[in-house]
């Protein structure tokens, strides 16, 4: 009590301001993320096996998708449930360009621009909505666009696109793998930049309290639109790469370019890893997509129910994500930087575990 009074007494005459300790968490997170991606990049092609390469290509693709969703869902905290629409736009741009004999990369670029523009124009109305309305509006857009493409026979009857293989066997698929990996690295670095920027500060402020953010001078609406566009861009490139890589796709249904499950996967992966963190989407995507591919191969019958169960379990028991779990459980990881004896650390760790369990209602 006395010390607090002293502090108050001093500050009136100008107490020395303690220099804020800049947390280095962002740097470590980025390095861990880059390390994981580098490891995948070295090990996956080493096997020289088509199946292994295919699995890791898909995993890295989902890393990109989760990172893209993280911009709007993790940083701004908006429940975008239709981000697959950008993936589909990217895929169909490449499909249409290739079918018309235009270069592949031009198709990717076209998808990038089209998705960005679409996100901007879509964002203008839907980002005026909040909560459930925003979620369903985005979900509906993706479904509707897929249906539209099927009904108008875009890219083929019923929207079914089939492309001529690029040729070149395993080598070409290794190239695709590295293209996805490069995209993942870029998106990771983009995320890091975002956490360090004004823009990122604004997004987090909107997530934490939109009304207060607005009152402090943040043009919340335009920042949200910006974040929505940002989340569309890597997603569209991934869709474009996927289109050529998969050689054939449909608009809707399971495995389609507008499959709602892709939207859900983005959300689930980001959630599991840690929404609004740098390395969370990377971890979440690896875990979920690996599990998903394993069960698809070995337990096709119960794959669907298992995925549903997984979603239920993650949201019930890990709503804060793995990264926050680590921060809770490992002293010092959250940047408080105190030195404690081992026994004290152990006791504190036990308390944290208990508090974490209590807070998450397990």
């Amino acid at each position: 009590m006395a010390s607090e009074a002293e502090v108050r007494g001093q500050v009136v005459v100008g107490a020395p301001v303690p220099a804020p300790r800049e947390s280095r968490g962002w740097l470590w997170s980025t390095l861990v993320g880059l390390g994981i991606l580098a490891l995948i990049g070295i090990l996956a092609p080493l096997a020289g096996d088509f199946g292994v390469l295919r699995m890791w290509t898909l995993i890295v693709m989902y890393i990109v998708l989760a990172q893209g969703w993280n911009f709007i869902g993790g940083f701004v905290g908006y429940a975008a449930f239709g981000n697959v629409v950008f993936f589909g736009i990217g895929a169909y741009s490449v499909g249409i360009f290739l079918l018309n004999g235009k270069p592949f990369l031009l198709g990717v670029a076209a998808g990038f621009v089209a998705a960005g523009l679409f996100a901007f124009l879509l964002g203008l109305p839907v980002l005026r909505l909040r909560g459930h309305y925003f979620a369903i509006a985005t979900l509906g857009i993706a479904e509707a666009l897929g249906e539209f493409i099927a009904a108008k026979d875009i890219g083929g009857p019923g929207g079914e696109v089939s492309l001529t293989p690029p040729g070149g066997g395993l080598g070409v698929f290794t190239l695709f793998f590295y293209a996805f990996l490069g995209l993942a690295v870029l998106t990771l670095l983009g995320t890091t930049l975002l956490t360090r920027s004004r823009f990122g500060y604004a997004l987090v402020a909107i997530r934490e309290n939109e009304e207060a953010a607005e009152s402090l001078g943040i043009a919340t609406y335009w920042y949200k639109v910006g974040a929505f566009v940002l989340s569309a861009l890597p997603t569209a490139i991934a869709g474009g790469l996927w289109a050529y890589w998969s050689l054939g796709f449909e608009p809707g249904g399971e495995g389609g370019a507008f499959d709602v499950n892709i939207s859900v996967a983005m959300v689930l992966m980001t959630f599991l890893g840690g929404a609004g963190t740098i390395v969370g989407p990377v971890l979440g995507a690896i875990i979920i997509e690996w599990l998903d591919l394993q069960t698809t191969l070995s337990a096709t019958q119960i794959h669907g129910p298992l995925l549903g169960l997984l979603i239920v379990l993650v949201t019930l028991f890990l709503p804060q994500g793995l990264i926050r779990l680590v921060q809770e459980l490992v002293p010092g990881a959250s940047g408080t930087g105190e030195r404690l004896s081992w026994s004290a650390q152990l006791r504190r760790g036990m308390r944290r575990v208990r508090r974490f369990i209590a807070a998450n209602g397990v």
């Binding site: 502090v7 500050v11 100008g14 301001v17 004004r198 500060y201 604004a202 987090v204 207060a212 001078g217």
Partner: protein
């Protein structure tokens, strides 16, 4: 400290920084603010009191831009700001606090304030914003809790955080929405001293409260709202002895008995 006990008086010739003309806000037919006109002079502290439901928070929302008036005009610094969004008003120098405190709960106290400095009137760089945040936190006596999370604070500290965030935007007009409600009398005294200090540094202040004691000591003038209407606007002591004000607060029973010093004392006692 001696000058702190007598509120600074602002000359009547000072120009109006904020001017409301015939402002009405209806929520589904019911007027929350009803044909209200008043002005705040450059450099003064205007207190606004009124019982619960008098339209005080609506008024703050109207000036801050979160609420659009049904009719009427709001002029700030000589221009009509009716078409400006809340963030544009913040850039113009209007900052507000929230009656129900609205911290960014996931951020720590310092980061909360940094947001205000980054995006407010001056729009500082990150490094400068951190510096300003620490200065402001020192000013509101919250620097020792700079690393607490936004939701790990006492009521008084949450109110301080609200003020700190608003101050970090370097406002010209500060709107304080019941920043003294729920505080102990020591904490109220601290808050009163802080508001005076902010005012002396050149910030025009509009204080909304329903505690008379708190507002009497800090305001140059007081305006009384009742059912969205202005029922009195005068110097603090004159307002407190106005029978209409006493009636609004305590009902007719008290108003019929004249406004003796005795009644006034009771009045203060009951409302605190």
């Amino acid at each position: 400290m001696s000058d702190a006990s007598s509120p600074p008086t602002v000359s009547d010739t000072q120009p109006a920084l904020l001017e409301l003309t015939n402002v009405t806000k209806r929520f589904g037919g019911l007027p929350a603010v009803d044909a209200l006109s008043f002005h705040v002079r450059q450099g003064e502290v205007l207190g606004i009191i009124g019982p619960n439901g008098a339209g005080k928070s609506t008024l703050i929302g109207l000036i801050g831009g979160a609420i659009t008036p049904t009719t009427g005009t709001i002029r700030y610094d000589g221009r009509d700001i009716g078409g400006l969004a809340p963030h544009q008003r913040a850039h113009a120098g209007i900052a507000r606090t929230f009656q129900i405190t609205q911290p960014f709960v996931g951020l720590d106290v310092r980061e909360n304030v940094v947001v205000g400095a980054l995006f407010g009137r001056r729009g500082l760089s990150r490094a400068a914003a951190v510096r300003v945040a620490d200065e402001v936190l020192t000013r509101v006596h919250l620097i020792h809790k700079a690393q607490n999370k936004g939701d790990q604070l006492t009521v008084a500290d949450r109110k301080r955080l609200e003020m700190a965030r608003a101050l970090a935007t370097s406002p010209r007009l500060l709107l304080l929405d019941e920043v003294m409600a729920g505080l102990t009398s020591t904490e109220i005294e601290e808050a009163v001293a802080l508001i005076r200090e902010i005012n002396r540094s050149g910030v025009t202040v509009l204080v909304v409260e329903h505690i008379m004691k708190a507002i009497k000591g800090v305001s140059d003038r007081i305006l009384v709202l009742h059912h969205g209407r202005k029922i009195a606007e005068d110097l603090p002591n004159a307002v407190l002895s106005d029978p209409r004000v006493i009636e609004a607060y305590l009902g007719e029973r008290y108003a019929r008995g004249q406004q003796s010093a005795q009644t006034l004392k009771e009045l203060e006692g009951e409302i605190i």
